[in-house]
Symmetry: C2
Subunit: 499 residues, 2 copies
């Protein structure tokens, strides 16, 4: 057994080297690579991810996993290693059915679509991106035909991002949200106040970067195990719990975008930094469930970051870094960061209407994969649904269907994760209040590290070893439901808007 | 032949992928990797550079090179491919003698020494770095025993950085400089003016970054093929002519450091961006001669950047970005950037006393490799030579022997390149004046791109295909001599200091 184990760990280590450089190539392409250098990086990424893929589907690995699965059955492995073997065997069995050439084509198309999306978004021209999108859809469909032949395509995709979830379960949760929130949002919008122009004045991008540093340090992002960059669209990635990176994008006339992206990505990063370091470089480390991951970024961004008490200990410091905030009262700030409005851009949406941005994307993804709607009809569908849920329509593709990078990466089925995350958050907040007491008071007193500590202990340290349903059950002792999130929205916004 | 050629090019392409990720790992470690993440990068770098090394010493490559060398002899290859085959065969014959385990040890020690140097410099404690330095010296000596068994160790190292150079030639050039410049500098120092405190006030580091952007754009660094970062010590590297990166380091109370580092690294970067793109991903692309490379960075930094006329078209813009410069007259600025003083830090030295900083390091390297001086005696030797050449001594190791990263990287024999570069520059300036006319006038009129164009045409586009001696002969029609540099110094500083 020790020989097998040693051989297996050597194999994992080598596979991990390939994964390591692929992660780095991706990071660098998004943060640092000049336009003419992208091609060289794409070539290297294609090469090394193909090598990684070949190792992850090699018969040699299959043999080791079979032997290890036998040991797991006879209870000769720790729970962690049982998980690692089960998960790797599941992935192995799926991936080995993918033709290597298809995988290579997918990776190359992914990189090219990523670049095409950046250019198309700049030009606000969906037609520049459409053929790449079609290719990503076709390749994704073809892939799931190999990986999950027994599943309906879109359910297979959902399960890839949030193991154990399918469209039946999500339909139930999202329909409940629509039923409760569509009338509630209309009620709020009836009480709409005029825009506060203080938030569209000039905010120095370099100072916004320093404000990000303040916020990240405050919530508990550890610098010795993390760094930051700039990219078109904010994201977080990690090499291990010891090296977690996040990016941001700074807009001169919109400080709240970078501030809330910083808190959001900071939430992802704090999750990854606090996974049990013994899981590093295995499938147990790094949370692979996107809904559960988003629950943490969105807990920081919304539940904490849009709570007035979060800002009490740091609002003055924020004003020192970004002087225009000195002229904005904490009350006006609080009102603006919870300003419910029918807006176009998902990442800038308030936490309530955000639900519709996700439901719209979820329904479009179902239309793509279930109804095979042609890509050139997608912008019109997008615009119709925006009208239906938020009574507005984008003026151009950049503020409509081109606003997100996800589809260019082939991340179909990812969007629902954001809203699943918020649904879990409603439940986590209830559990936290029961165990830590008054969360508002903790925030007011600057004791946010106690909250971070609770999340570390209850959620983060487990990494991928508990599936989302299991994690929610372990923390909340309840099945997943949208009720707590709806209650949270109604209590908070009834008070803010005096409904 | 076409089958051989195709096979060879496939092989080069794959080798290049390994080189590509090693370059990227190095870039990221210096610019972006958090402290705890360094270890993971070191592991990956060790793995991939060992793979690259294995490919570059494989019998399969040897066989192809032998066949190609045969074709070259019978004149069936282009001049470029003749060069590529000759250079690769030279490297192959040397490298194949290095035991793979030694190579692996070297790469790992290099990465560890790099990190140790950063920490030792922060703590200003040479003893933290000494064992790593000793290890790098021992490993370097061991390596040259394999690569250049017929050569004296230090001559082998010099030849690695500047093919065709040895200590006999360099002794001749440097002794002439010492003979002429020691009395000349004493004469200048006799006319010393008091420090201008305007240059030690606060200069916003973010604005210094924007000043770098101004300067790089001005001299002709192309953004579509380049990007920038921040690191402990400025450097330039490249993946190909299409992706050239440079870094800088910003000091709040010393704007001239970042300004001249930007122009210096910009000169390196412009060289690499303008190598014939057909040479990309071969040994012909990317200039591998460090003296020739430094001649270009130092031509921009000193010959152009420390010329008063360089600043005439952009001094006002510089003041818009860095407002303290509005209160400093162009005359005071010019005087400060050519302020000859006996200072401690090489990278901040004026162009005249800089020569002594290099001569000192050259002599210490000879003491290490020729006289086997123990590392713990090096700080004292450093300090004695500083006294001898510049009549000052460092107060601590950080401003003495720990100031440069080179030795931590195992770059022994590199330092003379800087001064060789300046020696070539004296000659290149003479040739440029003959062909382009009045260089001062071109600068004054903002026509620096004509100068960049001349350098592109005469030097850059050749990449590595001409060795330094050949390049100097082709451009200047003369053998290498220190005379033109000495004349340039005497004319310029006699005028500035009214000698």
């Amino acid at each position: 057994m020790s020989r097998l184990f040693e051989e297996f760990q050597q194999y994992l280590k080598k596979m991990n080297q390939y994964n390591h450089v692929c992660t780095l190539l991706y990071w660098d392409m998004k943060t640092c690579t000049p336009r003419l250098g992208q091609e060289g990086h794409v070539e290297a990424l294609t090469h090394f991810s193909s090598e990684h893929f070949a190792m992850s589907t090699a018969p040699e690995l299959g043999r080791m996993l079979d032997e290890l699965a036998g040991l797991a059955e006879s209870d000769q492995l720790s729970d962690t290693w049982k998980f690692i073997v089960r998960r790797m065997k599941r992935d192995f069995d799926r991936d080995k059915r993918i033709p290597p050439q298809l995988y290579r084509t997918f990776v190359q198309a992914q990189a090219e679509a990523g670049n095409a999306w950046v250019e198309a978004r700049k030009a606000s021209d969906f037609s520049m991106f459409a053929p790449h999108l079609q290719k990503m859809i076709d390749l994704t469909r073809e892939m799931t035909g190999y990986t999950d032949p027994e599943k309906e395509v879109y359910d297979a995709l959902l399960d890839q991002y949030e193991e154990g979830m399918d469209s039946a379960a999500i339909d139930g949760l999202f329909e409940e949200l629509k039923k409760e929130l569509i009338p509630f949002v209309k009620e709020i919008l009836g009480k709409q106040k005029p825009e506060n122009e203080a938030f569209t004045q000039y905010f120095d991008p370099d100072a916004q970067k320093r404000a990000q540093d303040l916020l990240l340090d405050y919530i508990g992002f550890r610098r010795e195990a993390g760094s930051t960059g700039e990219s078109e669209h904010p994201f977080t990635l990690n090499f291990s719990s010891k090296d977690v990176r996040l990016t941001n994008h700074y807009f001169e006339n919109d400080p709240l975008s970078a501030i809330f992206s910083a808190i959001h990505e900071g939430g992802h990063a704090i999750f990854e930094q606090n996974v049990n370091p013994e899981y590093d470089n295995t499938v147990a480390g790094s949370c692979c469930y996107m809904g559960l991951h988003e629950s943490q970024s969105r807990f920081y961004e919304n539940i904490l970051g849009r709570n007035k008490n979060f800002w009490i200990p740091i609002y003055e410091k924020l004003g020192e870094i970004l002087p225009p905030f000195r002229e904005i009262s904490p009350d006006d700030f609080y009102r603006e960061i919870n300003h419910v409005k029918n807006s176009l851009i998902r990442v800038n949406a308030d936490e309530v209407t955000y639900c519709f941005h996700i439901i719209l994307r979820y329904e479009i993804e179902k239309a793509i994969f279930r109804d095979r709607l042609p890509v050139d009809e997608l912008p019109a569908l997008w615009n119709r649904k925006m009208q239906e849920y938020l009574q507005i329509a984008p003026r151009d593709d950049a503020e409509g269907i081109l606003q997100d990078m996800h589809w260019s990466d082939g991340y179909f089925g990812y969007f629902p994760s954001y809203l699943l995350g918020s649904i879990y958050d409603g439940m986590f907040l209830d559990a936290m209040k029961e165990e830590l007491g008054d969360v508002d008071e903790l925030l007011r007193e600057g004791k946010i590290r106690e909250i971070t500590g609770w999340l570390n202990e209850k959620i983060h340290r487990y990494g991928s070893t508990r599936r989302p349903k299991e994690a929610v059950m372990a923390v909340c002792k309840k099945e997943i439901s949208a009720g707590p999130l709806i209650r949270y929205f109604k209590e908070k916004y009834t008070q803010i808007y005096g409904l």
